[in-house]
């Protein structure tokens, strides 16, 4: 189902660069090598895998650790995998299927050509003691420190009372929670210990975690759910709080206090984001919180983000990501030959003045320039949103199946029909168009005079289209886009909204009522929502009358 003409064969590079030498990156290298592709695995630090400091492996059995070690030795001896430590990406140029990467290792620069990139860089982990106003000491410990004691010096905890602070300084997550809960169980198995866990919201949305919580309580742990942080003396000897169950102020004197960690995006992420031209999402992760990106897509074709690179998650979930990425790599790289359509997005070099507007506004990093100083759009990387086409000041870009002529002709044809009032709705194919089809199929009431014009993304809707549609005789025009944060091209809906604002100003100047033009956001499953929006426009037109531009 494509608007594209058949194209030519394009040979692409099928080597893959994996960024990050933790267990997620190692698994990625393993899976991708098993598919038959050459892998270069780079790691910032001096060590990979088990030699790297692992702060976020939790709930793994001895079996699991054996499995990790086996995988690590397989990967280090795999001839298809080149491992480079103390190495990071300096620059990356080119397009998917043909990336030119410069890797820097101390002062050495290594040039590589790859077809795709998988980003698996690790989290950062930080103790939250500052947020509790505490300094670490002999009796004020981090989660990692108490875990270390349980491994090397368990008896030190005999007869001790240990207080845990978790999820109070800030909302926590199931990964941190599981570490705390498992530690609590371990401590309760030592003679004479007592554990008090002071918590905000307990995060138990993880397999088996509710049972682990219960096990801790069955073994003697007491969980206190507080609404605010307890007051703790600087020496950590006195903890005061209001007990919500006893409804009294309480003071306890634990022997040790354990402060929770926060997990956040890796320190390199901001740099990687700039180098790879990949959007940074919430919390600094290399993936926006946009459902179209799940599970492992970034905004750029050929660059995938897995595991700790994209979210706080356990190793099991990170490995789930890796297998998804492996399938994507297999689908994208294939056997190294892609059929590339001719007309996906075409730059008229006669019109192009090399202003680089398209390069800057492309949300998918699909545009570059060639020696002739003209913009070039990679057919492999382009996702046909059309933002470049509508931003181009010279109208030098046409999108296959949605050229300016094609759209203008659709509009003209739609206004030939007899039904009144004439409402033209430009509908994004990912959301509004589907919602409109849903309304039609479910026989939800729609205005007789409504015509839907499909666009690949609301970002394709040129200011010209809007004004032209009124000139051609529309009584009302709707620009129907995806909700903010749901645009497949991240910002197509934002661009569309700006153009509607511009159009509103122009309409005002001409004396045409602003209400004739509306910007609406929808999702693909909102048949009722579509119907309400178009009905509202119909009612408004009935109120203010047909367009004065009609002769």
């Amino acid at each position: 189902m494509t608007n594209f003409t058949d194209g030519k064969e394009l040979k692409i590079n099928t080597d893959v660069l994996v960024v990050g030498g933790g267990f997620t990156g190692i698994k990625a290298a393993s899976e991708i090598s098993n598919l038959g592709y050459q892998v270069t695995l780079i790691e910032n630090e001096a060590n990979i895998g088990s030699q790297k400091e692992q702060k976020t492996l939790v709930g793994l059995t001895d079996e699991d650790h054996k499995c990790l070690q086996e995988m690590e030795s397989r990967v280090t001896s795999d001839k298809r995998i080149e491992i480079l430590t103390k190495t990071k990406i300096a620059t990356i140029k080119g397009m998917p299927g043909d990336f030119s990467v410069r890797l820097s290792n101390n002062d050495n620069i290594l040039e590589k050509k790859v077809g795709a990139v998988v980003v698996a860089n690790d989290f950062s982990v930080n103790s939250l003691n500052d947020k509790y106003g505490l300094s670490l000491s002999d009796n004020i410990l981090t989660q990692s420190q108490i875990e270390e004691i349980l491994v090397s010096d368990k008896e030190k905890l005999a007869d001790k009372t240990v207080a845990f602070l978790v999820g109070l300084a800030q909302e926590t997550n199931p990964l941190i929670m599981e570490r705390v809960m498992r530690t609590v169980i371990d401590i309760n198995e030592i003679d004479g210990t007592a554990t008090y866990i002071y918590t905000g919201n307990l995060k138990v949305a993880s397999d088996g975690l509710e049972r682990i919580y219960k096990e801790g309580r069955d073994k003697g742990a007491t969980y206190f759910k507080l609404q605010e942080m307890p007051k703790i003396s600087q020496d950590g000897k006195i903890v005061s709080y209001h007990d919500p169950v006893l409804r009294r102020d309480i003071e306890v004197s634990p022997d040790m206090i354990v402060v929770d960690d926060e997990i956040y995006a890796g320190k390199n992420n901001a740099d990687l984001s700039e180098i790879l031209r990949v959007d940074l999402g919430a919390g600094g992760f290399l993936q926006k919180d946009n459902v179209h990106r799940f599970p492992v897509y970034s905004n750029r074709e050929g660059i995938f983000v897995v595991g700790p690179g994209r979210d706080v998650q356990k190793l099991q979930a990170a490995w789930m990501d890796v297998e998804n990425a492996a399938l994507e790599i297999k689908s994208f790289l294939g056997n190294g030959i892609k059929i590339v359509p001719d007309n996906k997005a075409v730059v008229d070099t006669g019109k192009c003045v090399f202003c680089l507007t398209c390069y800057r506004c492309c949300p998918h990093g699909a545009i570059y320039w060639a020696e002739e100083n003209k913009a070039v759009i990679s057919p492999l990387a382009c996702q046909s949103c059309g933002i470049c086409a509508s931003e181009c000041p010279m109208d030098a870009i046409q999108i296959g199946g949605f050229t300016d002529d094609e759209i203008k002709n659709s509009v003209k044809k739609s206004l030939d029909a007899k039904n009144e009032p004439k409402i033209v709705a430009f509908c994004c194919q990912n959301s509004a168009f589907e919602a409109g089809e849903m309304a039609k199929k479910f026989k939800i009431k729609l205005p007789d005079g409504l015509k839907m014009i499909k666009v690949p993304c609301a970002g394709k809707i040129d200011l010209d289209y809007i004004l032209n549609t009124f000139v051609e005789g529309a009584d009302g025009v709707l620009i129907m886009a995806c909700h903010n944060g749901n645009c497949k091209s991240e910002k197509g809906n934002i661009y569309a909204g700006w153009r509607v604002d511009d159009a509103h100003r122009m309409l005002e100047e001409t004396g045409l009522e602003k209400e004739r033009l509306r910007f609406v956001t929808l999702a693909s499953n909102m048949g009722s929502g579509f119907s309400s929006a178009v009905a509202e426009m119909e009612n408004k037109i009935k109120e203010i009358g047909l367009s004065p531009l009609r002769n």
């Binding site: 899976e31 799940f294 849903m438």
Partner: protein, 409 residues
């Protein structure tokens, strides 16, 4: 290695099953997709968009997208109204299928929590939730339809004519049979199905999807005072449900934001034990929610009916522990994800294990899509509670494991 002649059976046409089917079909593997009801999409296709002035990443539209992709994919053979009867494992799996009895067995239907929107011929014709369902209309009662031929929607198919019996030989099987929503009637003091304006989270999704807004069942008006009761059926020691269902806090908070956005004058109260994270930007989202919604860290036990179909809730005040009563005009029970009814029989048929909680057991900690039986895989909420995004990721992993098993990676 060639993928020709490789065939995989995917049991369950919900978001996980659809995702596995589509992922495999991308590599030219032939898929037999078995669905016990007469519509693809499972529970998740029934969910609504919850956007305020921005998307809240619930994933409902992702299900719509995936269903459309599967509907357009020729490599996927869909068998609706069909269940698994038995399996004969030799070199390949010979799976015997039978026509589903689910929809004609009203007790089973009620238990499973599936019910479909009915079109104008109430009780006689079912309609799928998505425009991508084919067929969209299914005739349950032929006689009523024969008596009203003009009212029967075009393209409607008789249920009797759907479903297949027979044996299909496949190289691997993926169990993506989904979950059962918690039956809120078990919590008798909430009066579900007795009081008009006590609804479940699933009812709420269906109402919004159909009507475009959340309205009270009693009078179709938008509510002014809404209560969400969290953890209904989940994290419940007395019922033996020792798990968090992952999805209830996210769907409740997102819906609450939507209600406030549509009607800022309304008041929304969330009764909870512990609020779970929703989405990747939870701290910021939670701050917004705390401005718009009332959070009370207490689960009400009793609901009493009042005039005007309002509801009186009784709970313990946080500060002094004394009972408080408050009147709401809509109460939403945030029900959780329970193991599906068929899990034990499917586990027996395929020779795999269930966890203590009744979901299918993954082989080991690091691989939750493989089971103890080679060639049998699991995906989605059949393995345990998951969000839509997590189900899709799990399904992708299952597809990858299937391909390794088939030797076509």
């Amino acid at each position: 290695m060639s993928t020709e002649n490789k065939k995989v059976m995917v049991i369950g046409g919900g978001i996980a099953g659809l995702t596995v089917a589509w992922e495999l079909s991308r590599f030219n593997i032939s898929v037999e997709l078995i669905e016990k009801t007469c519509f693809l999409g499972g529970h998740a296709i029934q969910f609504c968009c919850k956007a305020t002035d921005e998307c809240l990443q619930c994933g409902a539209c992702s299900v719509e997208d995936m269903l459309k992709k599967v509907a357009d994919e020729p490599n996927i053979n869909v068998h609706l109204a069909t269940e698994v009867e038995s399996i004969n494992k030799d070199k390949k799996f010979a799976v015997s299928l039978k026509k589903s009895s689910l929809l004609t067995d009203s007790e089973k239907l009620n238990e499973s929590g599936i019910c479909y929107e009915e079109s104008s011929l109430k009780g006689a014709v079912l309609r799928g939730y998505s425009k991508n369902n084919t067929p969209l209309y299914v005739i349950l009662d032929k006689k009523i339809c024969d008596d009203n031929p003009g009212a029967v929607p075009e393209g409607a198919v008789e249920l009797d004519k759907m479903g297949m019996s027979g044996t299909i030989e496949v190289d691997a099987v993926v169990l993506a049979s989904g979950f059962k929503p918690f039956n809120a009637e078990i919590k008798e003091t909430y009066g579900y199905r007795k009081f008009n304006n006590v609804i479940t989270g699933l009812d709420m999704e269906r109402i919004k999807r159909e009507k475009g807004a959340i309205v009270r069942p009693s009078d179709g008006k938008e509510p002014q005072k809404v209560a969400f009761i969290q953890c209904v059926g989940s994290r419940d020691e007395r019922l033996g449900n020792l798990w968090c269902s992952h999805v209830c806090c996210p769907y409740a908070l997102r819906m609450a934001e939507n209600i406030k956005y549509k009607n800022n004058e309304s008041e929304v109260t969330v009764f909870y034990m512990d609020i779970q994270n929703a989405g990747k930007n939870f701290p910021e989202f939670y701050e917004k929610c705390k401005l718009n919604q009332r959070f009370i860290r207490n689960i009400p036990v009793d609901i009493y009916p009042m005039e005007g179909d309002q509801l009186r809730l009784r709970y313990m005040a946080e500060d002094d522990g004394l009972p408080v009563e408050e009147v709401f005009d809509l109460v939403v029970l945030s029900i959780g994800i329970m193991p599906n009814l068929e899990n034990s029989s499917l586990a027996e048929i395929f020779g795999i294990e269930l966890t203590d909680d009744g979901f299918f057991a993954g082989k080991d900690n690091l691989n939750r899509t493989s089971t103890s039986k080679s060639g049998i895989f699991i995906a989605g909420t059949a393995e345990g509670p998951k969000t839509i995004a997590a189900s899709m990721a799990h399904a992708g992993q299952a597809a990858g494991e299937v391909m390794k098993h088939l030797g076509v990676s």
